[in-house]
Symmetry: D2
Subunit: 293 residues, 4 copies
């Protein structure tokens, strides 16, 4: 896919800095001093203290700095100097950078289509590097969008080999999105993409476990169909939540109607979560996330 935003005036010389450190008075002063010293103009700033007395401080800055690409080493050097003193974790991104995404799918296309649409529309500033699937159904969708498609069949016996093969094909991407992949990935796989592996799953109140949650939700007569996008950790479906949303159904909805409603919620929640991730708006803090939306 072409990159329509390569010379986008919205992103030239725009940088993003995410910082995390133990909370101590003066940290904002130290970082704002660093930015002011460089002549950077902070255009957006959001911060969070997990606990005013002794928690973790998290800060996200958007700034404009003339000739950002050229002056990046200088900025990084100053940040490194500050990092020791304040125990800073930091991440610096040029807004013009388009991270690469590998999308894993199975047979349903709603989540993948939405990601493709938002990339094309310029609303999701990323590049879908490849689509990986255990089925061939969505190959035409990927091809039509000019995205490489890798078919990696998975059977109970071949699971480990298939994952290894998928990892090899995917290579060095910035983010992996499980867009209704319907396969549980291994702890090794999770470990390859720490805080860079996003999944979407349906959610109900109450939760329904077992083979067919939509049938169970229907039998119980739930009124809301939800979806949750979260980072994947080795504990199944227990990773930090990025975004959730629900849609309303009533007693007339069949199981199939509920699935359909669920698909529209899923595509929206996943696309929102991926967009926030790509814009460095999501910071993982233990079992939860901070979302500077």
């Amino acid at each position: 896919m072409a990159d329509p935003g390569q010379h986008d005036p919205r992103v030239t010389d725009v940088g993003r800095l995410v910082v995390r450190c133990p909370d101590r008075p003066g940290i904002v002063h130290a970082i704002s001093g660093l930015m002011a010293g460089l002549g950077a103009n902070i255009t957006d700033s959001q911060q969070h203290s997990s606990d005013p007395s002794g928690g973790t401080f998290t800060l996200r800055l958007e700034f404009v700095l003339a000739r950002l690409a050229e002056r990046r080493p200088e900025l990084e050097q100053r940040l490194a100097a500050l990092a020791g003193e304040w125990q800073l974790d930091w991440r610096l991104t040029e807004a013009g950078h388009r991270p690469t995404i590998a999308v894993f799918v199975s047979r349903t296309d709603h989540a993948l289509q939405e990601l493709i649409y938002r990339v094309r529309a310029g609303d999701l500033r990323a590049r879908i590097a490849c689509v990986v699937s255990n089925h061939r159904d969505l190959e035409p969708v990927a091809r039509a969008a000019g995205i490489p498609f890798h078919h990696v069949p998975v059977t109970p016996e071949s699971k480990a080999d298939a994952e290894a093969r998928a990892l090899e094909l995917v290579g060095d991407v910035d983010l992996v999105v499980l867009a209704r992949y319907m396969q549980i990935v291994s702890a090794d796989f999770c470990g390859r993409f720490p805080e860079r592996l996003i999944n979407i799953h349906h959610s109900f109140l109450p939760a329904f476990v077992g083979a067919n949650p939509y049938q169970a939700a229907h039998d119980r007569g739930v009124k809301l169909i939800g979806a949750t996008a979260h980072y994947v950790t080795p504990e199944l479906d227990a990773g930090p939540i990025i975004e959730q949303e629900v849609a309303r159904v009533d007693h007339r909805a069949t199981v199939e109607d509920m699935r359909r409603v669920g698909r529209y919620v899923e595509r929206q929640v996943l696309a929102q979560a991926v967009t926030w991730h790509v814009e460095d708006r999501v910071i993982v803090e233990g079992p939860r996330t901070i979302v500077f939306a």
Copy 2:
């Protein structure tokens, strides 16, 4: 509380008929024929077939029939005649009737206050017959609204006696509402009010079990705080769902903030569920409800 709607022109001669029977072609024709024969004008009609081939048929009619109170016996006679042939369950209500409600509370007043407000505003056409609590905290709220208040302390040892005492005090009400009562009621209690006992509880995606679900939801970083109103059955929190809603929170919300948001969702969901029940809009069908909203 006075009854501002006693001579409300909206309800004079307005009746509601709810019918349930095995689904067979011709049932609508039979019932509409009965109503037409009496000269009743059907102003609202909603129906549901659980399964087009051999399920349960449910119908709710609102109708205007001149001199309804006087002609009610005639209507009932005709319905009884039809009931045998079609295996009808039916319930006939005059819209002018104000059902009585007993509200069970503990220490928080948000749900009770909302019910009192909606009765006063004329939006919930019912009469709160009494408030029962295991604490004295909300006695002033009930008193200020002119509602009898019964203090029935509950201890682990006295639980059975306390329930018996509460049942005695409550007497013969049309509906019991657990408006944050915080006590598990017995199967006997549930059996006294079949499909006439409504509870409200918080809901999350995913569900969190254990002693402090708000803390667990906070730790996991949920983005939606929900509430579910349901009929109470002996299986805890598993009765037919009437209504659900959620509100949005973000990472800045403390556990206390989440509780506060939860209270506003709970009061709205409970008041809506009670209003629909009182207007004969909720029909229980096994583990789920049909809500002719």
Copy 3:
């Protein structure tokens, strides 16, 4: 586009009947008698009385009738017989029928893409017969979906000719959708598609008139961005409303952000309105609609 639902078991022998007439007691009995007499099983029924005393009665039935296509003439004959007596307007549709749609667009593709997606997903049971545009920008989108594309440039001078040309190209479709066409259509055009011409436009509270409503909404700091789908009548933007929705923005949203949010609301509202129309769920009643959703 192929028709994946041609032999869809959900629609075989499923019919829809929409009826409108002056409200008189007995009308439901008469119609249900007709259906029962044929052996049709009514699976969904919704009705509305504009005014219990002397208004208009509207009814929508979904039914299953074995060998529907074959028995349709018989059903139509009986309806015609009833029509005289009760002054019925009626419309009978086989659910297996896929109406044809002409989509008019200008340069933005969000609404068109959503319609294409929903048709493909089987959620919108229609066939997009052609795309008409005054610009060539979306020709690739139409082509990729296998839909004929007609470029009909419009200039102030050529407006009447362009409309005539577009009408000729569109021919005899069931529905015309203005999916961000950005051109005002003539009263003649509206008259060609009575109650079969749907438009989408942005909506704000309050409304902003003039050349750049998004700029005006931004300047005033609105917190909700909305969209309205409506039937087009010769009075601009005043036709019967089918569906509306809003999304939330805050003070950080730029005019461009607001437009982007607006696009997602628009595509959803338009797709919903078109789907309801196609399923015979929208009945126009003077300046408003009844939506049996």
Copy 4:
């Protein structure tokens, strides 16, 4: 009303600082340096730049400073020193302070009741100093809550005198809330409470002007009923918007149903707007607001 939060641990030593000035690099550094120099710990910080190049910079800080009340003069002195250099407007509040509110009503109580409830619940940290009305209907509501009630009849002839009388009775309050007052206040009145006078009114898409907007909205068949809370300026209904929300209705809603739905939206939107105002979260910037929610 008693003040349950007088010694609330959540607010002891908690301060809020709102700052506005021309945007220049270094401003965050300057203010954070001032706070760090005092030993204040910033627990929440939100900022906004109206335009990265040459707009207005707005900042809201929450901070904890040991012995805040005692050290306030020192803090103010330092802020005053900074103000000259940076052209700062600033406002400093101790979170323990409970601002006073005068509530103007007419005959409907939903908005007033909600404000009373939220104050009592501790969710709105303010004190309702008095209720003013041109009718006596809500006197019992105010009395029951222990709030002074002033009856100030208004006739077309007495309008100016009535306003003068109301202003005298109200005296020196921090905020005036028009909670369905149904009277247009004069430009003089507005001028007395600059950015401290909040109104609630219903909102539709599209807007309906004239005597009976609910009837007009009903006739047009709108699907959303909205409400807008805004600061009042001499231009009617055109002041900076603080908050908006909508609720869904369908074709079955009567005009009276729409009014009822509107009341629930209004009470929620107004209470939210007042709460944000009281917590110094709303900053007026010309015709719009910045809401640091």
